[in-house]
Symmetry: C2
Subunit: 519 residues, 2 copies
């Protein structure tokens, strides 16, 4: 008898473990079918080719984005998805695109320059030849020095970074150590330093605005700058140089450049050499349609009780304008479309409706997904929720470049974590196994998370996202890793399928409080 209670306990423990494991069912047969279709018959690179090479960049409000919206809608429809539509999310502002970009140094000698017009800046008045001037304003009093000095000039400011040769590779994958760290709870940082930095940052931005105002008032013809982000060898970050609001005042023509070309001009000016530049940029504002759009399509649910419940995948379809936005985020769009194609191709009959959302204007503040959420699910400012809020299961996002999926951020949702563990089990041999409770930010799952809805983003290998491609003029098709995108498509398809088939909706975190200020 003495051993009986021990045996019983052992039995109960075994049962509990088994129950835990069984608790989250895994459709191994469907996983295999998805792998087969996604790895053997993949169309993910073909989709990415059309989104990048054929379509071009997809800046908010540009004709490139309009083309991509139409193309993706038509493609999803052609694959057999239902209710495919380009759907307005609200007012964005002015569209913008550029039609010519040329700049070179013409004295002390001719040297071509790699540069991109900043978004929403005007073009030059034809081909302009002008002297370069270095404006160095460290405090407001310095502004006076440039009175009467800038008429007809092209203005640069001192460099904050050097283009130092690096002995590290641009591209890398997460190591086991990286992933173990990521799986551990995030360290809590005291916030004092950050507040101080924010204050400094605000002061710097205020001074910069005054410099820009002065430079324009003094009659300069253009501004050049280099953030130093985006890498070396002429690779440069591209961003906006002026607001896109419909009533925003136009600034000066402004170009973003790589550190090498920029640094050469600054060094020459600092050494007292005269530098002459010639430049010609043509840009175009599109003001006929100020609205913003998302692309939506779905595989309808088939269960009588659950078909009105929604599982979503999504990725933003807009990009910056210096290249074709391959890793930010044609990669995410191509993978999410491919996940839908795989499920459609396999003829799955999901209990819940599976919907894809390709978001507009993520780059300017998650506008597309926020607009969609506000229209359909509720307002995070008031926490006034729609009745579809109750019917929403989960949203899965992909927006960290071309790298394969290594796991998922459970975004503080403790009940979701073991479910994800179970769903990742078949992918350990494909490098995906990490579930972290940590939050990750900066992209569209936040729009859902803000309403207390399960919104998740996957962990991806960084490859060269942070060093070379994110927002740069080199974010082109060549940077896509085909095998990684195939792997990601397969994993996303299985996650969505399991979410659509499980008995219950995905567990939720506590409902957040109303946030009258914007997120």
């Amino acid at each position: 008898m003495t051993r009986k209670p021990v045996l019983l306990l052992a039995f109960l423990l075994q049962f509990a473990v088994a129950a835990q494991a069984q608790q989250e069912p895994l459709d191994q047969q469907m996983v295999e079918r998805i792998k087969q279709e996604g790895l053997q018959n993949s169309k993910v690179m073909e989709t990415a080719f059309y989104l990048t090479d054929v379509n071009g960049s997809r800046l908010s409000g540009s004709s490139g984005l309009k083309r991509a919206n139409e193309w993706t809608k038509n493609k999803l429809e052609a694959w057999g998805l239902k209710n495919a539509r380009v759907e307005e999310w609200g007012e964005f502002g002015k569209g913008w695109e550029y039609e010519k970009s040329y700049i070179a140094m013409t004295a002390p000698y001719y040297q071509q320059i790699i540069a991109t017009p900043k978004a929403w800046t005007p073009g030059t008045n034809g081909l302009v030849k002008a002297q370069a001037v270095l404006v160095n304003v460290e405090k407001e009093e310095d502004l006076a020095k440039y009175k009467g000095q800038l008429q007809g000039k092209i203005v640069l400011t001192p460099l904050s970074r050097e283009a130092k040769t690096t002995f590290e590779a641009d591209a890398r994958r997460h190591s086991e150590e990286d992933l173990t760290k990521m799986a551990a709870p995030a360290e809590q940082n005291a916030n004092g330093g950050q507040n101080r930095r924010s204050e400094e940052w605000r002061a710097m931005m205020a001074l910069r605005a005054k410099v820009a105002e002065m430079v324009k008032a003094e009659g300069a013809v253009a501004i050049l700058n280099s953030s130093g982000r985006g890498g070396m060898h002429g690779t440069h970050f591209t961003s906006n140089g002026a607001p896109y609001a419909k009533d925003a005042k136009p600034g000066l023509p402004e170009l973003e450049m790589g550190l090498e070309d920029y640094g050469r001009i600054v060094r020459l000016l600092q050494a007292g050499q005269k530098v002459e530049l010639e430049m010609e940029t043509k840009t175009r504002f599109l003001e006929d349609d100020l609205k913003g759009y998302n692309v939506i399509a779905e595989i309808p649910g088939t269960d009588r009780k659950l078909k009105n419940e929604i599982v979503m995948v999504g990725a933003h379809i807009d990009s910056w304008h210096g290249s074709t936005g391959a890793t930010d985020n044609a990669a995410g769009v191509a993978v999410m479309m491919e996940a839908m194609r795989i499920l459609q191709e396999l003829g799955v009959k999901p209990k819940r409706t599976i919907r894809i959302g390709l978001w507009g204007s993520e780059e300017q503040g998650l506008h597309g997904s926020r607009g969609y959420v506000k229209k359909n699910l509720g307002d995070p400012a008031t926490m006034k929720l729609t009745k579809d809020h109750e019917k929403f299961s989960a949203y899965y996002n992909l927006d960290n470049g071309t790298g394969r999926i290594r796991g998922i951020y459970a975004q503080g949702n403790e009940a979701a974590a073991p479910i994800f563990e179970a769903w990742l089990a078949p992918f350990h041999d494909m490098d995906a196994k990490t579930v972290t409770l940590r939050n990750t930010g900066g992209t569209d799952h936040l729009s859902f998370d803000a309403l207390g809805l399960p919104g998740f983003q996957f962990i991806q290998d960084p490859i060269d996202y942070g060093t070379r491609t994110h927002h740069t003029n080199q974010d082109s098709y060549d940077r896509l890793q085909a095998d990684d995108l195939k792997q990601a498509s397969v994993i996303v398809a299985t996650f969505v399928y399991h979410t659509a088939m499980r008995d219950k909706k995905m567990p939720r975190k506590e409902l957040p409080k109303a946030k009258p200020a914007a997120l």
Copy 2:
């Protein structure tokens, strides 16, 4: 007694070793003074700044090279060197430079392109808009397909490489293992493979020439190409697209591009998309002066018997035209000039005359150094030698980029190797210690070696020479490693000093046979 002979032998051996070590004197005090001046008061980066940023590219026959010749001559003179002069080496051919370079894709959408005109190609007739056409000629019969198809078109050929993301760093240093390998005798390769490859290469070049002829005859407006060398992210190799001989016929306008921009156009054409480009290039031939020049200056010898003997340092001053030729070879020029400056500044009184030669037109076939050698030392075709041949001690060259010196190629000169070992002894702690008997080629020491004269090139850390800078549009000032160039200047100065002071000239290899054909 039995042990006496052994003791004697041991004594003799010890003596021999000591004699060997003592045989090559080392002026430790001078080494320290050179280190002090070269590391604490270095001007090597200032020299490099003027050669690159201030002067610009230095293509053979260009005004950039003329400026650099004048500037270096004046600088050497200002430092106190004697007999500084820009000295003709012979006839080069036409000079060439470009004054505008612009190209972009305008359909299916606007996308700017990073590209450089190939040297010695003509410019376009103003701004040209034209359709891109892919010409795929694998055998001569394929030429007929393009009859009547190319009028007014811009021609591309299929890509031989993809712009694959690499997980290795662009920049690296030699490991101990690399250096150990390098110090071992070179492996002898059977030459069959190479001969076969040469034949294939000749056949390919012949077919290419026919394609170029056909493309021009058919009335195409320009040719684009991408060798795929020089790296990624728009970085591209720059070379010549037409001969520079004074009577050479002009080809078509031709641009070199990075793999990404080129690959995008090729992929679009292969997918049946129409691609329209606009381009404008202005180039200029300089035919007033067909001669080529070297820059020469010296620190005269002071020993009555030895002052007519010559020790030389040198590096080529010409570059390609896509950037400012920083690592190829402003680096070498700046280091060699700095070595001279250090010795001059220290007021050394060398027994032999120390001369610097900054060679023109190395990039087109070591023309400057060959011309100098032929005029002053002898003709390798006939092996008719001048009487200065006898008075020549050694030549030291630097032309492998910005990396610090890790040792020296003794170029098969077995008697020179232990001398170099002795001279490197004080620099083991500065990473330089390897002497290899191996030959290295591709640069100006070969011009001296061809006459049986001791001509040496140093072993340098590769940094990003092979991956990013060598002949590319990104070979700019930023790629220079200041600490490496200082180290190299100091080592070169001590080598030259010791060569100028030793009792005998440097030992020579056997005199080569006459080589009626060019090397």
